[in-house]
Amino acid sequence: MLAAAMLSLAVIAYLNRVESLKIRVTYHGEAEWMILLAAARHSLASNESLDVLIARLSSAASRNGVWLPPVEWNSSHASWGGNTGGGWAYRADFYNTSLGWRGYFAASTSYVLLGAEYDDHGNLWLVYNLTYLHEYRLPQYSYSITLHPEPLNTTCSRVYAAGEGEWIAKLSPPCTLKDKWGIAIISVEGG
């Protein structure tokens, strides 16, 4: 009986030790991927190289003990047109072919000049029909998430909703229409 009692005490002590060794399981997923996509978005907004931003990000993540997905990346930016109409498209892909991971951030806009008008102070306002969207694709999901960010009103821009992702934008040149992340949606020259 003494042996049984000692054995049970040993079992309880062992279980106590096992229980005190907390198993910490850390999940890495969407948030870490969004950090990469946000870097691409900031690259588009700031015109800074994505390579440079990712290098700064990796350094900051390392200092803060933040895990980032081991990926390669490439980005492309194309624009066309001018004051009377045009657009641009940006896309940054992040991938790890050996692990089968792929995610991307894409943004695009297109605009057409509808007409021009003068206000009571004699200022010229160019009126555009504008479409603007963001796409976020995370490898955790089989589909992309589409956002229609609202362009910001400023002293030289007036924006009116015209549908999902569609806007009527009035710009008094020179003016740059931006969204909340600082991405230039339309830049019109002149004055």
């Binding site: 870097a39 978005r41 700031s46 933040v66 909340k180």
Partner: protein, 93 residues
């Protein structure tokens, strides 16, 4: 005497087994911290270029910048003048 021995032996076994059952509860699976597609859409806006937005949007996404115990946590980046600042956001699953 044998009855007393058997009684104490059974008592020891019951106490040991109850301790063991209590201690061997499996940990909560990490997948409870996953966010669904709707909340990921809100999550996207957390990554901002202005840190004051982060505080406001964290509230909208039902998250906080001051995670309390047993919350799920995830890093969020705010870009300030081309420099990344990393924050930890916590939320209740």
């Amino acid at each position: 005497m044998r009855v007393a021995e058997a009684f104490f032996l059974a008592l020891i076994v019951i106490v040991t087994a109850s301790y063991a059952a209590k201690m061997l509860v499996p940990p909560q699976p990490p997948l409870r911290c996953l966010r669904d597609a709707n909340t990921v859409a809100a999550w996207i806006t957390l990554h901002s270029s202005r840190s004051k937005d982060l505080q406001l949007l964290a509230v909208k996404a039902n998250a906080t910048l001051q995670p309390t115990p047993h919350h799920c946590v995830a890093p969020v980046v705010v870009w300030v003048n081309g420099t990344p600042r990393l924050y930890t956001v916590g939320w209740k699953p």
